[in-house]
């Protein structure tokens, strides 16, 4: 049985390690923070200029000067530190962030990632995504295995404009955990009762089983 969205987030949380500095993308990746074990020390970076991001505020804690990269109100923690955007991206581009977990429109078997624009639709912009995938030590993609219309997102080559070339390390979908490696997309783990054939049917990329 394929994983639920919560199970996908919980599985993604297992990729984190004690002491990691992590940047979570907007959407489903943000929810990974809810599945970190209490005894694990993970520091969340928000690229608008903060390390040690806390949860959403209560009504009377709301502070207009304290938001995350999705422009949502958040709180600080005893570990928090603030800095400017150039410093923030020096951390990202300088390889100081251990891991980024991001969403995707398409991933190719060579690790190419497309997650910022669809030609013909209004383009909102890449924000910090191109910097994150170029600079962060390990890039994990958390996404639905297929698009809403059923088309494959795990491809031989992306046909949407790239966010980065050969930047993805791992992919987590409802079907399992996958790794970009020699010869294509390697299966690291399958969700319960999911078969290799099902993964192959629902992917266009070359699926490698060992």
């Amino acid at each position: 049985m394929a994983w639920t969205r919560d199970e996908m987030c919980a599985r993604a949380a297992l990729e984190l390690e004690d002491g990691f500095y992590v940047n979570l993308g907007i959407g489903m990746p943000t929810k990974v923070a809810n599945f970190i074990p209490d005894d694990m020390d993970v520091n969340f970076q928000s690229e608008n200029g903060m390390l040690g991001m806390g949860p959403f505020p209560t009504d009377n804690e709301v502070d207009a000067d304290l938001i995350n990269a999705g422009k949502q109100t958040i709180t600080e923690t005893p570990k928090s530190v603030y800095f400017d955007s150039a410093q923030s991206f020096a951390m990202i581009r300088g390889g100081h962030i251990n891991m980024s977990i991001l969403g995707a429109l398409q991933v190719a078997e060579n690790g190419d990632l497309a997650n910022w624009m669809i030609p013909g639709k209004m383009v909102k912009g890449m924000g910090g995504a191109m910097d994150l995938v170029a600079g962060v030590k390990r890039v994990v993609i958390l996404m639905d295995h297929n698009a809403k219309d059923g088309t494959a997102k795990l491809l031989k080559e992306c046909n949407l404009p790239l966010t980065g070339a050969a930047v993805v390390d791992d992919i987590i979908t409802e079907l399992g955990v996958f790794r970009i490696g020699d010869g294509g997309v390697h299966i690291s783990e399958l969700a319960p009762d999911v078969t290799v054939d099902e993964v192959r049917d629902r992917s266009e990329a070359t699926i490698v089983t060992q």
């Binding site: 995350n68 955007s85 383009v123 191109m130 980065g164």
Partner: protein, 233 residues
């Protein structure tokens, strides 16, 4: 009174605005935006502006106000998703847009302010952003050349400042304000609280006065919140 101190946004911008100029505007979303100077620029009627700002405000607040009045010719931004006016003008071909990756935009300002005309970064290699730009290999990896960015004017929001122009930002409202302040030929800062020299801890100042040309205390900041997200505690 220090010669840098002005009474309000209008007087602080007096003589600095002209059609076709480039303005660097601090802020991330609506957080830490120079809201008083944006209003004063709107009221001045100056037009054909090129504005570098991470975002473009919302329809009725922030830089969205200058889009409504069609004073903006071109935006240099990383993300413009929250603005319908922007979308309509862009799709009608009335507004130019140059997307910069967020880190590239920040570093372009830092470099511009530090006298560095260009730098190399891995960000954007192999993407549309790389088209027409020089690449160079260092240690077996390909990097993209990006240019330092300066502007005729930087409009900056800070929390506290002293009358000689040392300023402190607050929490995530620092964002692009600090690097952009260094990259304006003229930098004007609006603060929530203007204090006397000596009242700010010299070890805790985020932007040294040398970058500040004019400063004023804004009255009644709205500090609008874009997405108010709360928990039950």
């Amino acid at each position: 009174m220090s010669k840098k101190v002005y009474s309000d946004a209008k007087s602080a911008l007096d003589g600095l605005l002209h059609d076709g100029m480039t303005i660097l505007a601090g802020g991330f979303g609506l957080c830490g935006i120079p809201e008083h100077m944006i209003l004063a620029i709107r009221d001045s009627g100056v037009k054909d502006l090129t504005i570098a700002s991470n975002n473009a405000g919302v329809d009725d607040f922030g830089l969205g106000l200058l889009l409504q009045t069609r004073q903006v010719k071109k935006m240099i931004s990383s993300y413009v998703g929250e603005n319908k006016t922007f979308e309509a003008q862009f799709l009608a071909g009335e507004l130019e847009l140059e997307f910069n990756p967020q880190g590239t935009l920040a570093e372009r300002c830092r470099a511009g302010g530090a006298g560095i005309p260009a730098f190399y970064t891995k960000t954007g290699v192999g993407t549309l952003i790389a088209e027409g730009k020089e690449t160079k290999d260092f240690d077996g990896q390909t990097y993209l050349m990006e240019r330092g960015l300066t502007g005729d004017l930087a409009i900056i929001k800070a929390w506290k400042g002293d009358t000689v122009g040392n300023v402190v930002f607050r929490k995530t409202a620092r964002n692009f304000n600090a690097p952009m302040a260094t990259a304006g030929k003229v930098c004007v800062i609006e603060v929530e609280e203007l204090v006397e020299p000596g009242e700010l801890d010299p070890d805790g100042i985020h932007l040294p006065s040398i970058y500040t040309h004019r400063i004023f205390q804004g009255q009644d900041f709205e500090k609008r919140i874009e997405f108010r997200t709360v928990s039950d505690g």
